[in-house]
Amino acid sequence: MGVTDEAALTTALRRGTIEYCVLALLDKRELYGVELVHQLSNGLGMTTSEGTMYPLLSRLRRNGRIATTWREAPAGPPRRYYTLTADGEAALTHFRTEWVTFRSGVDRILGTES
């Protein structure tokens, strides 16, 4: 499998799921951009494409699933915190159910049940 194929596979796998990872991280607590992007990139092995997450955050904000609020920081410039909206929370709850069903189906077919 070539590097390009592998990258395409990873991109395809992330496509439908990463935005729910954003919502899930923000469900725990509000995070400012750098924190959020670092947690996502470290968690999903995307440490050289953190910038690609900003367009996603921008869309989630436009769709009303997340919101932003400025807060003063103890040191340095103020931080813009991302928070989960009620819509975002509902979307996350729905996705969790869908994901479990989808994952078990794929696991059964692939023979990768744990």
């Binding site: 951009g33 050289t48 953190e50 910038g51 997450m53 367009p55 921008s58 436009r62 340095g76 410039p77």
Partner: protein, 153 residues
């Protein structure tokens, strides 16, 4: 402007060039988000060395990939939003229509076939009656002809 500032400016300029195909609002938002990220990450790393800034920019990634991600994110709402709102009625309306018209087509074919079958049945029935008509008449006289002898003895 320090050398690290120049690195950042050059990076953002590359993003801006790559993002020229995006709508102005999206482009400005993207550059603003990235500028903010770099500013905060620099403030947090404390050290202002060129290596630190390079690491921050490397983690952000290739400007072209970032803009490509923005492309897909601008496409997604175009796909989902029409599905949810304006184009939604025609979209779900279309599939129900197709089965209906297909059903109508099959029903039409079935009716036509039934009509043909019925026609031939009638035609065949009529032919049989025409055939049997004369045949029955000879039989009846034969039966009546045979009956008297059987009744007779």
């Amino acid at each position: 402007m320090t050398q690290t500032d120049e690195l950042v400016a050059a990076y953002l300029a590359r993003v801006e060039r790559a993002a020229s195909r995006l709508p102005a609002g999206r482009r400005e938002e993207l550059i603003g988000d990235l500028r903010e990220h770099i500013e905060i990450a620099r403030a947090e790393s404390g050290a202002e060395s060129e290596a630190d800034v390079r690491t921050i920019l490397e983690r952000l990634g290739d400007p072209e990939s970032i803009v490509a991600a923005a492309d897909t994110q601008t496409d997604l709402p175009r796909v989902t939003a029409p599905a949810l709102y304006p184009t939604a009625p025609p979209m779900p309306a279309a599939p129900p229509h197709r089965p209906v018209s297909r059903t109508a087509l099959w029903a039409g074919i079935a009716v036509a076939a039934a009509a043909v079958v019925i026609f031939f049945c009638f035609a065949a029935f009529a032919a049989v009656r025409d055939d049997q008509g004369p045949a029955e008449r000879p039989i009846a006289p034969v039966e009546t002809a045979e009956a008297p002898p059987s009744v007779g003895p």
